[in-house]
């Protein structure tokens, strides 16, 4: 009996939490369509999420492309299809690895920082102070972060894809001796607009998921330093899980 009570309580807890998260998203959408528009704040957040994540994106995408090049070359050689390396690297990056790894990197670097920032503002009553001043904290703090994330993630993913493809080129062409023309020609033949489009849709969706979860967890964090630390951990874990789950759903819809 106790087991069923436990399951029931946890189910109600998670349903309630989901409801709160959707209400939070609804408040963001309402706020985003109503003036005043905080353009300067959005640009500042784009700098924080985008420009400051550039180094980690370039680093991870370069090595991802290099690993793809190395693994792909040894696998394709077994079938005598080394010339398909360009297609393999490009399609893997554009369709899957670019959006997913890009989103995970942004979660780790910017999402966790967003949660911690909002969490500290919550526990030090800065959010309450905005509320008493009748400055809507969603408009003032959350909206610029979420809009910036939605705009910036597709751009970061595009950079991830390009650097990753050159990573694969470095290993496949420069190190393992595949013909450069065959590497790029294969890519041109196999990559379609539909692939680029699906990558862009995924990165937009992941931009929303990462900033939504990170802002929600920070905005509603518990008490004290432990509350902020728990919220940050939950934001990173939940963002990563949702990104991977939505990747599956979007892949099945878009292909």
């Amino acid at each position: 009996m106790g087991f069923f009570i436990f399951i029931g309580k946890r189910t109600i807890f998670y349903l309630r939490e989901m409801g709160r998260m959707f209400l939070f998203l609804f408040r963001f959408i309402l706020s985003a369509v109503q003036p005043p528009y905080k353009i300067v704040r959005v640009v500042n957040e784009m700098h924080f999420i985008g420009v400051k994540s550039l180094f980690i994106i370039v680093l991870t995408s370069g090595f991802t492309g290099m690993v793809l090049g190395l693994q792909g070359y040894h696998t394709l050689r077994k079938f005598g299809s080394e010339s398909a390396l360009g297609s393999l690297v490009a399609l893997s990056l554009i369709r899957e690895l670019g959006p997913v790894l890009g989103a995970l990197m942004v979660t780790a670097r910017a999402g966790s920082a967003m949660t911690a920032e909002l969490g500290i503002m919550r526990i030090s009553e800065q959010i309450d102070a905005l509320d008493v001043m009748t400055l809507d904290p969603i408009k003032f703090l959350v909206e610029p972060k979420m809009l910036a994330g939605i705009i910036v993630l597709p751009l970061l993913v595009a950079i991830f894809d390009v650097i990753g493809i050159y990573g694969g080129y470095l290993v496949g062409v420069k190190l393992l001796g595949i013909n450069a023309a065959r590497y790029f020609d294969g890519m041109k033949e196999s990559v379609e607009w539909r692939d680029i489009w699906s990558g862009a849709v995924k990165s937009l969706a992941f931009g929303l998921i990462v900033t939504w979860v990170s802002c929600y967890k920070g905005y509603n964090c518990g008490h004290g330093a432990k509350g902020v630390s728990d919220a940050t951990t939950e934001a990173v874990v939940l963002s990563a899980i949702l990104v991977l789950m939505w990747d599956y759903f979007l892949t099945s819809i878009l292909h």
């Binding site: 030090s124 009553e125 800065q126 309450d128 102070a129 008493v132 001043m133 009748t134 400055l135 003032f140």
Partner: protein, 248 residues
Amino acid sequence: MIKVSNLRKSFEGVEVLRGVDLEIPTGKTTAIIGKSGAGKTVLFKHLVGLMRPDSGSIVVDGADIAALKGRALNNVKRKFGMVFQGGALFDSLTVFENVALPLKELMRLSGGETASKVNAMLREVGLPGMGDKYPDEISGGMKKRVALARALVMSPEYLFFDEPTTGLDPIVETAIHALMKRCKSLSPATYVLVSHDIREVLEMSDLVAMLHEGAVIECSPPGEIVKSSNPAVRQFLSGSAEGPIQMY
């Protein structure tokens, strides 16, 4: 005037406010006292519109903020200013930007007008030339003064203080009290303060409301409350461990 009637609030089945009735008269300073956990902060958050009650009303100049939402609620809240216990200054903004924020966002004043108002207010609270500092570069007493400047710059009709001098040394405490009195003489707002400091409460307030077990058990001027026959009030004012107020 603020009139609180039969205010009730529970958290996860625990009733923190059990029918609070309180009248806060216009132009006076009303202090809310009570032991830790008595519900002072919860009551305070209801008064400034940060929490919504389970039942009851909070009528501010004829408008029940417990029933209002959105723009109508904001119109009432614009009458409020609040000095939070820790200051609640925005740590990514300078002192100047903290005080300028409500002017910039709500009144949309020009840069020159904002600067002259903010600098005048910083002089008023004894912090001229401190505008470029960040909150973590100034002392606790200075933070309280910046928070007071930020609250006063919008000329509120109601000013709320949450533990205005907690954690400050006695000299800074006296300076804050003097500043509060001077501000009150300059702009005759209604002051509401929550405090544990009996000396502060008796010195600063015109009316003292004692909260015990989720209800106001006595509300009277300082001269009368010190002579109260209520055993809980007497115990709290004397700071005795013996009496109806249990420590745990």
